[in-house]
Amino acid sequence: MREIIDISYSSLALGYVLAIIPLALVLYYRARVAFDLVTSIVRMTVQLLFVGLYLQVVFRLDLWWLTALWLIVMIVVADFSVARGAGLSARRFVFSLFAALLAGTIVPLAYFILVILRVPHLMEPQYAIPIAGMIMGNCLRANVIGIGRFYRSLKEREGAFLYSLGQGATLREAVRPFLSNALSDALAPTIAMMMTVGLVSLPGMMTGILMAGVAPSAAIKYQIAIMISIFTGTAITVVCGIELTMRSAFTPYGILRKDIFRGKPKVK
């Protein structure tokens, strides 16, 4: 196995040339994303430059609190992204979503690092940052789907919800069918990904490890462990997210507060 080839900045500049193809297609067909496409490329570059610099420092200093700080920053960003993506009030749910994302990230991360990899320190940046990043990225997507659909379906099917309350159901009993559907919807993409992994596409972590020059047998072991961690993190985050946000989403009479909704959800 060979060491990974570093991309020089001049070679990276050539990489941007490739983006001319989608830009030309978008302009030719007058798709309305031309501005967003350019903005997103610029934003991606700036964001990754900063992240690259920060991670260089984190890796070099190897301080547990600096790694933990990085994870907390990621969770805060994910927190607001979930609220915005699901079309919900960040102000009302910010602490509940933070706690849910923290639980959904820390539990599988700790298991992966301390039990599976047997690395003595949880905040070892080489492992903690990429593994937490992958778990959190998936938790974020799942939460946008799960929590967003949970509250939207409660709003759209208010009649069914009130019917249950009108038969004497507790709040928890009345929301159970909605929670069950939201959890299924949130987990479905991860399940579908696990069904086809390796056949349709090679997942990110496995690709990274293969390119780093590690044997495929080790790469698949990492991939299996990360998939299970992602699935676990997703389930924890969605259930905790719904359970915790529920505390401030209903009036004392069990009626869904209308002011929890903000703007349009990004995922239908």
Partner: protein
């Protein structure tokens, strides 16, 4: 004993009433029909009694307990509500009915297939309907299924919103006879069905409200 006591209850949306100040005392075992034209606040009154709409003034007491954000959960366990627009959730009729028996409020009840079949027969619902998806049922079938579910819950108070509207005379009579026979059930009914009024112990009229908004009650 007064089962439901409504005192000077009103609901306002911004500056307009959607339910004008209203009082009523519902005695045990009686059926009281609240009638009035569309937009007079009949459904709003029932929703307020169920705690789904917060009143702007006045109060509701059920079996002597004043309805508030704390007591509402206990109070709802003493009532069974059949709304005007029925959405019972997803699943077959049997799944929906069985779900009721899993509620903590119904922990003393047991699923009795024989009783369910007898009630289906009484209200002219085919047994095969138990296996049908409730969202595919007709309006009349949903009304009768929701009425059956309210009976199965064995609650002392029924809150019924236009429960017989659109039913043919035979099916309507089956429901009304059942209510008439059951002296253990106190019913608060919103309807403009004249047949129902004939069966009621008391009929109360709500005055129309000019340019009343609908379906946009204050719920917070």
């Amino acid at each position: 004993m007064s089962m439901v006591e409504i005192k000077d209850l009103a609901v306002r949306l911004e500056d307009r009433f959607i339910l004008r100040p209203f009082s009523l005392s519902l005695e045990c075992g009686k059926t009281v029909v609240v009638s009035g034209p569309s937009g007079s606040g009949k459904s709003t009154l029932l929703k307020t009694v169920m705690g789904f709409v917060k009143p702007s003034q006045g109060e509701v007491s059920v079996e002597g307990v004043r309805l508030d954000g704390h007591s509402v959960w206990r109070v709802r366990q003493r009532m069974a509500y059949v709304p005007q627009e029925i959405d019972m959730g997803d699943g077959t009729a049997e799944e929906i009915l069985r779900r009721l028996f899993h509620y903590r409020a119904s922990s003393s009840l047991r699923w009795d297939e024989k009783q369910v079949k007898e009630l289906f027969s009484e209200f002219m619902l085919g047994e095969d309907l138990l296996q049908q998806d409730v969202r595919e049922l007709s309006g009349g079938e949903k009304q009768r299924l929701a009425f059956v579910s309210a009976i199965l819950l064995q609650r002392p108070i029924m809150v019924l919103d236009e429960v017989t509207t659109g039913l043919d005379p035979e099916r309507k009579r089956a429901m009304l006879e059942h209510l008439k026979r059951r002296s253990d059930i106190t019913a608060l009914v919103a309807t403009h069905d004249e047949t129902f009024m004939g069966y009621a112990d008391e009929v109360v009229y709500l005055e129309p409200i000019a340019s009343a908004p609908s379906g946009n009650e204050e719920t917070d």
